[in-house]
Amino acid sequence: MELFDNILLGFSVAFTLDNLLYCALGVTIGMFIGVIPGVGHLAAISMLLPLTFYVPPTTALVMLAGIYYGAQYGGSTASILLNLPGTPASAVVCLDGYPMAQNGRGGVALLMTTLASFVGSFITVFVLAAFAPPLAAFAVSFNSADYFSMMLLGLVAAAILVQGSPAKGAAAVIIGLILGMVGTDVNTGVQRYTFGFSFLYDGINIVAIAMGIFGIAEVIANVGKIKGAQNDHKITLRSLIPTAQDLKQSIMPMLRGTGIGTGIGILPGTGTSIASFLAYAIEKRVSRDPKKFGKGAIEGITAPESANNAAAQSAFIPTLTLGIPGDAVMALMLGALLIHGIAPGPNVITDNPGLFWGLVVSFLIGNVLLLILNIPLVGVWVRLLKIPYPLLYPSIILFIAIGVYSINYSHLDIVLVAFFGLVGCLLLVLGFEPAPLLLGYILGPMIEENFRRTLLISRGDMMVFLERPVSATFLALCLFLLIWSIHSSSKERRIRKRIESSR
């Protein structure tokens, strides 16, 4: 009956006027951000982070989370109609969604992706409610060695699961760890890599890094490229109606996508993009007719959409139970918690049950709202695609600048944003992925602290990491991932060689 009480508590928290209002605001902003290509949810959340200083922590998280999962819904609209992903996670939807739109089935594709998003999110909210509390209870027994190994697993996963070579993924993670060292060393008080600037003593502002390498670099890469919708897409409500065949073919892909997304989301260091790409690859493999993929196969849009929405919800599991953010968005959520004086970790659920269960119930409400926002109002979102980018990008830059300024009222944070914008462009040019870098930056200080504390207690004995069963399990998983990546990259090389020699 405890679960029932908890859910009741969640409803009483989520159904206050403020929380309902901020939930609706969050999902609407998220949807807006998701639909428009070139505006990422990370930039949006960091822009709106200062806004949440003025409301209670639960309300703040309800809104920020709404932006996050709302963007997952909206991302597929531009993919389908413009062949241009609204969010990175929905890039894979272009492959089959755009051909569907060209065949005059754009409306069906929009409806099915909305449905798939809803299925993926809704199921995963229940997984979150069922698994988070026992996991948190278990995590109370974790010590610093276990935390170290778990975060190491997150970094290894982030380094390996990038597109391109694992060496470059690892390099991105390490550069992130190096950036994380900037500031006062907690154990000795030594200033590391601050170059004498007092504004760096507390470390580099995470919002400045996130906005620079994602927000600003995104703008610079997109200026002149995004043209906006040229052709008129008339999406009538009638055109949304799918056939019975569409629905029947989508049920299993949605469920498989949900499963994959949930698993990927729980793993720290991975994100919604990996979930949707993996779901697509698996769908293609299990299909009886793999040739139809890329030509408008409905499974090719429903499975990835379910997966990225499921991953967006299940990413809250490690964040709220262990205090370990799986990606940059979750790190900003943890930042919001810290600002309100709530220390992230396994005690969040027991100490603040109203926060956890209120958030869970708000996810249910938010998803229903998104369903309502999407289906009758589809025409509004389609019209949004016509906003010209030249009007959009100066506005994005302005809100980023004011947003980062309002955190510390320091103009030097704005200078940092400009600097990390340049860094982000450099990363883009050289083919380093920004996401693992940011994860390294976020986890770096936590990893170093736990590593040093463990070895201080064990007097320099490294075996302690293998003696604890939890820690040893995480390290074994790291090793498995490394071997798997070396194996698969050498296989990829062999295949590439075969292709080149046959030419």
Binding site: A170, I216, I220, P394, V429, F451
Partner: protein
């Protein structure tokens, strides 16, 4: 000469340069030992690990044909310039004139520069940011040269 322009070759060199800088700049931090690590322990380990990644990336470049993609230098310059101008003017002359400057400078990233559209955009954004940040959130931000 061609191999020098490969994307992964430059990426690997960049890793080596960063690694060398981190180790060189961090040599003053005390190293400590395993049972009591100093602030310089991790920087060295990370520097070494990054240089290994750099070397692996350079080796990987031998088989790759990928060139460095073109970047929109004009956007890079004007967007950065716009943000920096905003950063250094908003405390002195206030948020509204700084907003005006930011929008006009960053709009130069694209040709042609449309003066009327940009003017309309900058004025409406001034109004919008006033409504959100000052009227709505009561943030203590200087508005124009004649306020506090």
């Amino acid at each position: 000469m061609k191999s020098l322009l490969k994307r992964d070759f430059i990426a690997g060199i960049a890793c080596l340069v960063i690694a060398a800088f981190v180790v060189w700049y961090g040599q003053d931090y005390s190293y400590g030992n395993l049972n009591n690590m100093g602030p310089g322990y991790l920087p060295r380990i990370l520097g070494i690990a990054l240089s290994i990644c750099g070397i692996l990336t350079i080796l990987g470049a031998i088989n790759s044909m990928e060139r460095v993609p073109r970047i929109n230098v004009r956007a890079l310059v004007f967007v950065t310039l716009g943000i920096l101008t905003f950063a250094f003017t908003m405390n002195r002359i206030g948020m509204l004139p700084a907003t005006f400057l930011l929008i006009h400078i960053s709009a130069l990233s694209e040709s042609p520069y449309r003066i009327f559209r940009t003017l309309a955009l900058s004025l409406s954004l001034c109004l919008l940011s006033y409504l959100i940040f000052i009227f709505g959130l009561n943030m203590p931000i200087r508005l124009h040269p004649w306020s506090f």
